[in-house]
Amino acid sequence: MSTYDASFRIWRGDAEGGSLRDFTVEVHDGEVVLDIVHRLQATQASDLAVRWNCKAGKCGSCSAEINGRPRLMCMTRMSTFERSETITVTPLRAFPVVRDLVTDVSFNYEKAREVPAFVPPQGVAPGAYRMQQVDVDRSQEFRKCIECFLCQDTCHVVRDHEENKTAFAGPRFLMRVAELDMHPLDAAQEAGLDRKRTAQEEHGLGYCNITKCCTEVCPEGIKITDNALIPLKERAVDRTYDPLVWLGNKIRRRADL
C-alpha cells in the first residue's frame, strides 16, 4: 500500500466566471480521479460541485475533461499518470457550465426528443415481435451507450461552433437514427417517415466530417463513426445522390430490404 501527494488543478466557478485552482491531495493505490475529487470535497473544498452516481462507468454521470481529454472520472485510474504530473480537471467544455464540474447537458435531451421514436409495425401485437439475432446485432452495439455525452462534448461541430447546435444532433443521436433505420421492425418508412432523408435534412448528418473524435472518447468502445455514422451517410447517399439505387427502388418497389 503506498500513498503520495498529487497536484491537482480543478476548475471552480459558475456561469459568471471562474478559474483553475490548485490543490495538493493524498492519493492511495488503486484510486480513480473521482476518488480524489471526493477526497477534496471531504477535506478541502466541501462545496465543490460534481455529478456522479455509479462509480462503475455505467451511469454516465461523471463526465469531465481530465488533462484536456473528455473522460469518465470514475474510470480514469490515477496509476495512468506520473506521480509528479499536475492533473487538470475541468467541466465539459461544449455545454453551459452550472457550477464547478457540473454542466447543463439539456442540449442532449432536446436532441434526443427531436429523433422520432420507433414506429411499431402494423398488425403485430407488442408481445408478438420476433427478430433474428443477426438482424439486431448492429443495433445492440449502439444500445451499449450509457449516455455520458462525452462524444457530444468532443465533437468539434458543436464544441467549436455554438451556432451549429440548432442544426446538428451530434454523434449520439445520429447513432440513434442509424439504430432505428437498421431496426428490423421499425415501420417508419410505411408511416411516411424516411429516416435516411431526415438524417441529412433534419439532424445535420452532413456536418459530421468523420474525423472520429466521438469514437475516440466513447467509454463503451462503440465504433460510432464506422458502424453508425458512415453507414448512415451511405444510406443517405442511396436517397439523395445515387440515381441507380433510386431507380432500382422505383422499379422494383422494394422499400423494405
Binding site: L20, N67, P184, V217, E234, L257
Partner: protein, 272 residues
C-alpha cells in the same frame, strides 16, 4: 459602433455560457504528433506522385509497367508488348498519359472516408485533434459545395474495380522475363504481388463497398449470402486505415522500382 478593434465574437469553447477557460485546449499529451505525421506522409506522396505523373518517362521496363501509367490510354504511350496499352484518347493527348488514369485512383482516395479524416485533421485542422479547438470561425462540414461532393465516393469505388483488375493483369505479366517468355520471376514480381494484394484489400475494405455488399439491408436473415459478404468486408474494413497507408506506400514503391529499372540505375534480380 464598429471600430474595427473590438475582440472577435467568442464562440466554441470560449462561448460565454461555457466554463471560463482561456486555453484553447488543456491536453498535455503529444496530440500534434498524429496530424503532423499524417500531413508529412501525405505530402511526401503528393510530391513524389506529382513528379512521377508529369515525368512521362521511365515507366516501363519489360515486363514491369508502373502502376501510375496503367492502363496507358493515349497514343504517346510507350509500346508495352501484351501490356496495358489502351489507346482511347488517340494522338491529340500530348501530356503525360498518367494524368488520364490517375484521376480515378486520386478521386477514390480523395473521397475515401479514411483519407477525408486524415486530411481534414492533418491539413485543415478541422479539428487538429480531439478536444483541441479548431482555428476556423465557421464550419459547415460536408453540407455544402464543394465538400458535399464527397458523397459521390461510391462511384469512384465502382471505377476503382476495373483499375484494380488491370493492375492484376499487369501483375500476371510480371511472370514473364524481359524477352516476354512466361514462367519467370524476379524481385519486381514479388513487389507487384504484394502491391496488388494490398490494392485489392484496400479497395474491398471501402466503406461504400461494405454498404453495397450488405450494409444497406435491414434484414440480414433474409439475405444470407450478402450477410456473409458484408461480414468479410466488415472484417477488412476495420483495417481500412492500415490498408490505405500500406497500399499507398506499396504503389509508390512499385513505381519507384520500375523507375530504377527503366532508368538503368538498378537491374532486376531474377529468381528463375
Amino acid at each position: 459602433m464598429a471600430t474595427g478593434t473590438e475582440p472577435p465574437r467568442l464562440t466554441g469553447v470560449h462561448d460565454p455560457s461555457r466554463a471560463a477557460i482561456a486555453a484553447r485546449h488543456l491536453r498535455t499529451d503529444r496530440w500534434w504528433l498524429a496530424p503532423a505525421v499524417t500531413a508529412a506522409g501525405l505530402l511526401a506522396f503528393i510530391v513524389y506522385s506529382t513528379w512521377r505523373a508529369f515525368a512521362n518517362a521511365d515507366y516501363y521496363a519489360a515486363p514491369y509497367v508502373s502502376p501510375f501509367y496503367s492502363p496507358c490510354l493515349a497514343e504517346n504511350c510507350q509500346e508495352m508488348r501484351g501490356g496495358p496499352n489502351l489507346d482511347l484518347f488517340g494522338s491529340w493527348w500530348g501530356l503525360s498519359p498518367a494524368l488520364l488514369i490517375l484521376v480515378f485512383p486520386l478521386g477514390f482516395r480523395l473521397t475515401c472516408y479514411y483519407y477525408r479524416k486524415a486530411y481534414y485533421r492533418g491539413f485543415w485542422a478541422s479539428p487538429p485533434a480531439c478536444a483541441v479547438a479548431e482555428p476556423h470561425a465557421k464550419y459547415t462540414g460536408e453540407t455544402r459545395f464543394p465538400l458535399v461532393l464527397q458523397n459521390i465516393h461510391r462511384y469512384f469505388f465502382y471505377a476503382a474495380l476495373p483499375v484494380a483488375g488491370i493492375l492484376t493483369y499487369d501483375t500476371a505479366l510480371t511472370f514473364r522475363n524481359d524477352r516476354y517468355e512466361w514462367g519467370h520471376m524476379g524481385l519486381g514480381t514479388l513487389l507487384f504481388l504484394v502491391n496488388i494484394a494490398l490494392i485489392w484489400a484496400y479497395t474491398l475494405s471501402c466503406h461504400s463497398c461494405r454498404h453495397i455488399m450488405g450494409g444497406r439491408l435491414r434484414h440480414f436473415s433474409k439475405h444470407p449470402v450478402r450477410y456473409r459478404l458484408w461480414g468479410w468486408v466488415s472484417r477488412l474494413n476495420s483495417r481500412h486505415m492500415q490498408l490505405a497507408w500500406a497500399s499507398l506506400i506499396s504503389v509508390a514503391l512499385c513505381d519507384f522500382y520500375v523507375y530504377l529499372l527503366a532508368s538503368g540505375t538498378f537491374t532486376d534480380p531474377r529468381f528463375f
